[in-house]
Point group: C2
Chain length 366, copies 2
């Protein structure tokens, strides 16, 4: 140990992790996170966290969040980074129709990071945790050779059968919550400048990129309806994520582009830049909306009920087809539109989808 | 997507992740990992894995395993790295007296890694998973900006109350399973050459470093005895990890150095190098043995029973004392010995403990 102790709060802004050492850092995290929430029998402070399962079905998900892969410190605060790293995991639980419960945070931290930087990161994690009823129960800290990295693991529970990706059947309706394209527009603005778009639209798309809103209540209602046949969250982009449902369910799909709920702010930004907003809505990622399929006869009522209950718009955007149709996107006149490729983490830049040089991946679970 | 498909097995050795793309990689991992084990309702292939909890107490732990922090590719195969990354998490569950069940693997992979490299990494993960009855149920893959990184999360279960770090009371005996110092000796050999030590001893300490043996059966018996009052696994080193129990339990300890079960192979290597093996046994880390305290009157019987059942030696090495004693290590004549500092991830090299330039950290849970 370096013999460091909890730093004087007044000096914490310039006090680095190297100054305080690992133990003081963990103590500091533990002090702020506290004893955990409901059913947390032992949180930070032992070899493993101890929680009381309900005896039902557990949902397990993990996502990495790495500097210069998933975020840039130039375009997001540490609070944003912490909030989003947990939110993308919450979204995975929402996409099963489950309840997020307990999170573990593995941190790889550059030793030159300040103690207040770590506080900010945790403040963001806590914002999301509090909003969605998640308890931060443990983790791991180590020195990062380069760049900040988080690996967040979230354990959820579901009361009954979760909604998987493999249950879509030809004839089912395809639905999506919220609006599309704002997160990709925000990334474009952050990476390439705002252009002449109105300031409020710019602010809105940047916020959509930095602070996604996972749809937990919506996912719960969609699952509880028993009308949903498959569900996924939109992390890699509409076309890519719909492709995951199609592949798992061995079906095809017809999507009407004019039915896609494109975010108004993304439209404004696209218009100002002279680009096509549909590229962001279809191939952009990180909207963290829910994309799901439902029995056709019940789809409209389900969409209405979810909106009434949560205030979140839900739109029918297409129909599940037999597998041989593939993924077919058509414009208002019925003409097909080519699908841009989704994000691939291992592709070189030239091979990547439009405007997607950097962003989160979906889980290896899919 | 790059349009890559599963590579021809004959070419997989030179086929990089950039060649095959993310989807083909995930499909390959999913094909080899399969549908998961008992009580895995849905493994790789959805937003979250779905498992059936028993309704009892869950144990949650995560550990990062990063290139040039926790391992070097020069001194360990990818199979070793995979096996150890999971083993250190299994050890955390063992240290609670629990049963490891379900693991999530978050991988940050350099795009130039070959597909066979990832196969080897998974082969190592699977070796440990099979040995300890763990199901690999999901994870996340993304491109690493530099170096290979794993963050492994393990969910365990425990039938009854787990053994925590905070229950040691003055008068309790202090016990340790197995032998100490071999992993640190192995690291010293790998980093600084074998010296004139006998080849079999060198092989043994290298193996101890690369392939730790978590003590799951021993932990289960120790917990079930109800004689144990606190337990931890030895990841950071005997003195540091005992320090964690003392801090959590607000007690001190007297340890007799001549009672420590120093690994014979570590002694041989130390003698050949002219170094003091006690430094490795006391301050070296990564032995992944269990260090625990137990009611004094029952300690000898517990040690004997665990050895009879598992074949693993268990030694009484000291006694819990009041907090004001601190951590006191004495030699055979009763003279105190200074304690070298344990590993600190954020300390600069000069401030770190002996021979501990690189190795695993304990969990932020402690």
């Amino acid at each position: 140990m370096t013999g460091g102790d909890d730093p004087d709060p007044a000096r914490a802004g310039t006090t680095t992790l190297r100054d305080v050492g690992e133990r003081a850092l963990i103590r500091r995290i533990r002090d702020r996170v506290g004893a955990g929430g409901p059913r947390v029998l032992a949180g930070i402070g032992d070899d493993a966290a101890v929680v009381a399962g309900s005896g039902g079905t557990l949902l397990l998900t993990t996502d990495s969040f790495l500097e210069d892969v998933h975020f840039r410190r130039r375009t997001a605060t540490l609070r944003d980074i912490g909030a989003k790293a947990l939110a993308v995991n919450v979204s995975d639980i929402a996409a099963m129709g489950g309840e997020p419960r307990w999170a573990l945070i593995a941190l790889a931290l550059p030793p030159t990071l300040s103690v207040l930087d770590v506080d900010e990161l945790y403040a963001g994690l806590e914002e999301t945790a509090e909003r969605y009823g998640v308890s931060l129960v443990g983790g791991d800290t180590c020195a990062a050779p380069v760049g900040l990295g988080l690996a967040v693991t979230l354990v959820g529970e579901v009361d009954g059968a979760p909604v998987r990706r493999d249950g879509a059947r030809p004839g089912d309706a395809i639905l999506v919550t919220g609006t599309l394209g704002a997160a990709a527009a925000g990334l474009a603005v952050l990476e390439g400048g705002p252009g002449p778009a109105p300031a409020d639209a710019v602010g809105e798309v940047i916020r959509a990129h930095r602070r996604p809103t996972p749809r937990v209540a919506e996912g719960r209602l969609i699952r509880a309806s028993q009308a949903a046949t498959a569900m996924i969250d939109l992390s890699d982009g509409f076309s890519t994520d719909l492709g995951h449902i199609l592949a798992e369910s061995r079906v095809g799909a017809l999507v009407r582009l004019d039915a896609l709920p494109v975010a108004a702010a993304a439209c404004q930004v696209a218009r100002a830049r002279g680009t096509d907003v549909l590229t962001w809505a279809v191939s952009g990622g990180e909207d963290y909306e829910l994309l799901f399929t439902a029995t056709a006869s019940r789809a409209a009522a389900l969409a209405r009920d979810v909106t009434l209950e949560t205030g979140t718009p839900v739109r029918i955007v297409g129909e599940v087809q037999p597998a041989e149709v593939g993924l077919r996107l058509v414009d208002a006149t019925g003409h097909p539109r080519a699908v841009r490729p989704g994000f691939d983490h291992f592709a070189s830049g030239a091979e990547r989808g439009a405007g997607q040089a950097r962003r989160s991946t979906g889980s290896a679970n899919g």
